[in-house]
């Protein structure tokens, strides 16, 4: 009986807390500044590290310390990490959890069931999304002006970087399992911003999808940009070492951590790739 009452009480407290948060949202047009924030997604990790007040962000995901996918490994060492499991996240007593829309649904449901506020951010599929995500995370952390300023700076830098190119060399993105990125993906937009034309468009691939090796060879791109293989072995990545691909790859362009998330660091990826293009044209 007492247990039931307690459960009821905690349930109604949870409802009250949600209501309070909702009211704040309506009143201020923004979240009240959450005191303890935990991020469990690589991309929200990096955006939160850029925008949070000192002490506001409590923990990031373990991937934030992985050099292959994170651009902010050194900064991430200042925070404790979680592996994104509901139990360890809950024990950090967060006011707000930042997660990606592809975070395991069961984890998100469990956290919400425990009364934790979870904000879901869609991974960016375009360069325009980068600015939007900066604004969104700024707003969620209670620093909308900071988010707006960073987004505006990003957009100005991007506009300055966008190259006016007369003849665009044809490039293909090629990842494990023969996947490629089309014009409507973040990597595809990085490619175009750096002054390349994407070969995927020629075979009617607009989003991400599988491009058979045969079709890639047939398209004969000026260069192929591949991912950097992970340690250990996988059959998925063996295709990147296929002898038929050797002749197509020119220069040393690879997609690295700068390409993974929609943070202002994509500007570095664009600048590096534009250098690659100029070197290719000088040949």
């Amino acid at each position: 009986m007492r247990a039931a009452t307690a459960r009821f009480m905690s349930g109604s407290m949870r409802g009250f807390k949600r209501l309070a948060l909702g009211l704040c949202l309506i009143a201020g047009g923004a979240w009240a500044e959450p005191a303890r924030v935990v991020s469990i997604n690589l991309c929200t990790d990096q955006l939160a590290m850029m925008l949070a007040d000192p002490g506001q962000l409590v923990a990031v995901s373990h991937l934030a310390r992985d050099r292959r996918s994170s651009t902010m490994v050194a900064q991430a060492k200042a925070y404790s990490i979680t592996y994104g499991r509901a139990e360890e996240v809950f024990l950090k007593a967060p006011d707000l959890v930042l997660a990606g829309t592809y975070t395991t649904q069961a984890t998100v449901d469990l956290l919400q069931g425990l009364g934790v506020e979870v904000a879901l951010l869609a991974p960016p599929s375009s360069l325009a999304d980068v600015g939007d995500n900066l604004r969104e995370v700024g707003r969620l952390l209670g620093h909308p002006a900071r988010g707006e300023a960073m987004a505006a700076a990003f957009e100005a830098d991007l506009a300055a970087l966008r190259a006016d190119v007369v003849r665009r060399p044809r490039a293909a993105l090629y990842y494990a399992n023969g996947y490629t990125g089309g014009d409507r993906s973040l990597a595809g937009e990085i490619l175009v911003a750096a002054g390349f034309a994407n070969v995927a468009a020629e075979v009617d691939l607009t989003d991400a999808g599988r491009l058979p090796l045969e079709q890639l060879i047939q398209a004969a791109p000026d260069t192929v940009i591949t991912g950097r293989p992970y340690p250990g072995n996988s059959r998925a990545e063996e295709i990147l070492a296929h002898p038929a691909l050797d002749g197509l790859r020119r220069g040393g362009a690879v997609t690295d951590a700068d390409w993974v998330c929609g943070t202002p660091h994509v500007l570095r990826a664009i600048a590096g790739l534009a250098d690659e293009r100029r070197a290719l044209e000088a040949e």
Binding site: G209, E214, I217
Partner: protein, 331 residues
């Protein structure tokens, strides 16, 4: 049907399927264009030549070799155990070879030495065949054979999953499916050179066992009286099947049921003589894998459908049919 006629017909079928395998793919190439690129070659870096020589040729050659390996290994095992249910996939040989291959790849041994990948696959297969023969040798009976096979398969499969789950490579864990079902997508000439020596060597060994296996159909005592050295026959059989299945599995994963279905169809046509069944099963296996690999490309061109899915769809009903016929013996 006389043996030369049957082998001739099978060879024509295999040749036709091999040609079809070379001509079917996602890049729409003309018939004359692709064949001349394959044989004569174009200028340096010509796309059609690259596609034909580096993408389609290794795929077709591997289909041929791996099919032959699985068909021949199945026929030889069935001849030795005098049991139509013995098959590399069902008794865990392929699964153990896959475990050896996965260990070679994930420990980095495969990168350190070119022979490590097929060598460890061979070792895995060797251990499992020896184990199965020790448990369910000539006097073990079908039930012992199948039960021991289930145990070995499950054990090898679990260890394969474990090794792949522990890999630092994020793609490795999703490749459990490949190692359990097999595929020939995007294999290169490198893979042909890895697998071919082992498969050819094992093939020579197994084809040489025909007379001994023929004698064994009369019973062990009669075979011994005819001058067959049974323990030597057993050793060669273990080595031959392990080399063939190891080489095949190291590059294409475990493909099941080929060694069950093919000898089963061909046995009535050769008069149930193992020496005649061996070469026929090699050709039949090659035809089955080439046909299955063409089918996966036509049914779902953008999906990388696994070969083992198709062979199991055909093979599992066959297996049930065999059990149905043998159920009195099994009971």
């Amino acid at each position: 049907m006389t043996q030369p006629l049957l082998l001739g017909l099978l060879a024509i079928l295999v040749a036709a399927l091999f040609a079809a395998s070379l001509l079917i793919g996602p890049a729409a190439l003309g018939l004359v264009e692709s064949l001349s690129a394959l044989v004569a070659g174009g200028p340096e870096g010509d796309a059609v030549t690259l596609i034909m020589r580096e993408v389609r040729l290794p795929r077709a050659v591997l289909g041929l070799l791996i099919g032959a390996a699985l068909g021949l290994a199945g026929a030889a095992m069935q001849g030795f155990l005098r049991n139509p249910l013995a098959e590399p996939g069902l008794i865990g040989t392929s699964g153990s070879a896959a475990l050896g291959a996965v260990i070679a790849l994930q420990t980095g041994l495969a990168g350190a030495h070119v022979l490590a990948l097929p060598g460890l696959a061979l070792l895995g297969a060797l251990i499992s065949v020896a184990l199965i023969l020790a448990i369910a040798g000539p006097r073990g009976g079908s039930l012992t054979l199948i039960l021991a096979g289930i145990a070995v398969s499950a054990f090898a499969g679990a260890l394969t999953s474990l090794v792949l789950n522990l890999s630092p490579n994020p793609f490795a864990a999703s490749e459990i499916v490949f190692w359990m079902l097999g595929s020939l997508t995007d294999r290169s000439m490198v893979h042909v050179w890895i697998a071919a020596p082992f498969i050819l060597l094992g093939g020579l060994v197994l084809l040489g066992l025909g007379r001994g296996l023929d004698a064994l159909t009369l019973g062990e005592d009669a075979a011994a009286a005819l001058g067959v050295d049974l323990s030597r026959l057993r050793l060669w059989l273990i080595f031959g099947t392990a080399a063939m299945v190891g080489g095949a599995t190291a590059v294409a994963g475990a493909i099941g049921f080929v060694g069950l279905v093919v000898p089963h169809i061909l046995r009535p046509l050769v008069g149930a003589r193992p020496s005649a069944l061996l070469p026929a099963s090699a050709l039949g296996g090659a035809a089955m894998i080439l046909a299955a690999d063409i089918a996966v490309r036509i049914i779902a061109p953008d999906r990388d459908l696994k070969l083992g899915v198709l062979t199991a769809l055909i093979g599992a009903p066959f297996f049930l049919h065999l059990i149905w016929r043998m159920r009195r013996q099994l009971a």
